[in-house]
């Protein structure tokens, strides 16, 4: 293939990685499945492979209360602050979704959650002040947070706050792409009536899985009608079908919407090892997901791309590899192949009972056999057509 203009740009682009140890303070309790040690594991994996160095790293700022108010209610922020110092009554906590099994109260939760949001705002400013083309903030991507309610491990919704921030300060058209296995409901509802923010979520069907929404026919309301896209995949979907659906939809939606900037939420919980979901993808999708985001950011947005983290509950075998690939694609335009660093494996194998994988790829003999694979693929194709039918009619 001849090296085109966009190919050159894709090789030359600048990337930044948001990190501070303080991001690990977002910790509900030791047994909680949402564990930000994933960010550290990914960072060290990248460092040990010489893919990340000190000059790539940008420290997150803390979101101010006026930042949070771009999306959240004052009353809710006050409740989170009270909870942070143990002063929220049980009655009030229920109203705001705090103190539940999913989002238990922990000391200083307001500060910890504000730092995650601030990291996403730092990522936005870094890109929009022209310091970098792409920024990765793995501590962000908390897409279930509502205006006045914590939900699904999310206290503040950093992506919703940050997209409001982009709209207010830069007035750009934002394409939000959510590849978490759970529907990106909080972000979708935040912009459901806004034609300048297009949301696209691909996830496991909500028939069984939390949060239950994310049907094809959720298309937005009022002026925002036609700017919300959802593809609910059948449980046990594998790589081939996942990628066909993702690539077709993302290409067509980007072409339809012509975004100025792309924000991706890179939850890593669609893998067959993930304990909370029922999709059956392998590492293959985590190589291709960022690759297309990178390409389309250069095609439509002069490279402006912010990638966030999200879910991912096999924190040892899946998330560090998946997230490291996002950075690898940002930085080098290529996913990694071959073996993981021995140094990293040696250090972290001691910390877990599961056997860490030694290569970037999964081996085919590990893949689950899904007898209904053809039915599932056909169902997913139909869902894809249903989701895209209006924009396909236009072109």
């Amino acid at each position: 293939m001849a090296a085109g203009k966009s190919g050159d740009t894709m090789m030359d682009c600048q990337s930044a990685f948001i990190y501070s140890e303080d991001l690990l303070q977002y910790q509900f309790h030791a047994e909680h499945p949402f564990d930000q040690i994933r960010v550290l594991l990914t960072k060290e994996l990248l460092e040990s492979m010489n893919l990340l160095n000190q000059t790539d790293i940008v420290k997150p700022r803390t979101a101010s209360e006026s930042d949070l108010l771009l999306f959240h209610d004052k009353e809710y922020i006050e409740a989170v602050k009270k909870a942070s110092s143990g002063k929220l009554t049980e009655f009030d906590s229920i109203e705001f979704g705090l103190g539940t099994e999913d989002t238990p109260i922990f000391p200083n939760m307001h500060d910890a959650a504000s730092l995650l949001v601030g990291g996403t705002l730092t990522a936005i400013d870094t890109v929009l002040e022209g310091k970098s083309n792409h920024v990765l903030h793995l501590g962000g991507g908390l897409h279930h947070g509502f205006k006045r309610k914590a939900a699904g491990f999310c206290i503040y919704n950093d992506a919703a706050v940050a997209i409001k921030y982009i709209r207010k300060h830069y007035n750009l058209r934002v394409l939000y792409v959510d590849t978490d296995a759970h529907h990106g409901d909080g972000v979708q509802w935040a912009f459901y009536d806004d034609p300048n923010v297009c949301t696209f979520s691909i996830h496991e069907t909500g028939r069984y899985l939390f949060p239950g929404t994310g049907n094809s026919n959720e298309r937005g309301i009022k002026d925002g009608h036609g700017y919300s896209f959802n593809i609910p995949l059948d449980a046990f979907t594998q790589d081939e079908s996942y990628l066909t659906v993702y690539e077709t939809a993302f290409n067509e939606i980007a072409n339809f919407f012509q975004p100025d900037i792309i924000v991706t939420q890179n939850g890593a919980d669609s893998h067959f090892y993930d304990p909370l979901t029922h999709l059956s993808a392998s590492m293959k999708i985590y190589e291709e997901i960022p690759r297309l985001a990178h390409k389309l950011a250069h095609t439509y947005c002069d490279g402006k791309w912010i990638a966030l983290g999200g879910g991912g509950y096999d924190i040892w075998r899946v998330v560090p590899r998946a997230w490291a690939q996002v950075w690898s694609v940002m930085k080098t335009n290529q996913p990694q192949i071959g073996s993981l660093s021995k140094k990293w494996l040696k250090k972290w194998q001691k910390e877990t009972n599961v056997t860490l994988p030694s290569t970037w790829h999964d081996h085919e003999e590990q893949f689950p056999v899904i007898p209904r694979k053809l039915d599932i693929n056909e169902k997913n194709d139909r869902t894809l057509q249903h989701t895209l039918k209006y924009i396909q009619n236009k072109s």
């Binding site: 539940t100 491990f153 939390f210 239950g212 046990f236 059956s280």
Partner: protein, 215 residues
């Protein structure tokens, strides 16, 4: 759920002496499919559907002729007597009427006066609320022996984990009359601990289940 809580109260109506043309206009303007016909006392004397009106209208191929048909009185084509319901009737009774009679709308009448209307769409909306699929939740299905006390026994495991239950459905397990299926929608993204509790207590889960795809 009772009719009073499901019905629409701003009902579009016509008098028996109104014309078919007026009915056609109202159906199009309000994007509705049924118009109760009421007399001066507010009593329901008939009902017309969009199909009744369309049957009485000229074909789209004869637009310029025969418009005179539209000047007939609505009472000449309305259905009567009308099956009506009371505000205190139950959602399942409405479902049964729609199923048995194969129609999709009933006027709600109290003291012989029209007070509201319920359509198939209102019924489906209510069923969505009852299944809890409109709020953030995960779905868990448990197979249980059909005996008194089993529901609180299972439900207690959610309470212990501080997991709010959005909805509960109970129905027979396949054809086996000794078992029931309990379907819970619960407000948690992480059902794993409560699933472990249920399995440890000896309950059989229908969903989630390992290898569910291998059917």
């Amino acid at each position: 759920m009772i009719v009073e809580n499901m019905m629409k109260t701003d009902v579009i109506t016509l008098q028996p002496s109104a014309t078919i043309a007026e009915a056609l206009h109202l159906l199009q303007k309000h994007r509705i499919r049924h118009i109760p016909i009421v007399d001066d006392q507010g009593q329901v004397v008939g009902i017309v559907s969009d199909r009744d009106v369309r049957d009485a209208s000229p074909s789209i191929f004869d637009k310029d002729t025969n418009q005179v048909q539209l000047n007939h009185k609505i009472e000449s084509i309305m259905s009567h007597p009308v099956i009506t319901v009371h505000p205190l009737d139950f959602v399942e009774e409405i479902a049964k009427i729609f199923y048995d009679e194969a129609f999709a709308c009933v006027p709600v009448v109290k003291n012989n006066k029209l007070v509201g209307i319920i359509t198939e769409k209102d019924l489906l909306y209510t069923l969505i609320q009852l299944t809890g699929t409109h709020v953030q939740s995960s779905h868990i299905e448990v197979k249980v022996p059909d005996r008194p006390g089993i529901l609180p026994e299972v439900a207690a495991y959610f309470g212990k984990r501080k997991i709010n239950i959005v909805s509960v459905l109970i129905y027979p397990y396949d054809d086996d009359q000794h078992y029931k299926t309990l379907v819970f929608r619960v407000q948690t993204m992480n059902p794993l601990p409560v699933i472990a509790d249920l399995i440890n207590a000896g309950f059989e889960l229908i969903w989630p289940q390992e290898n569910q795809g291998i059917l």
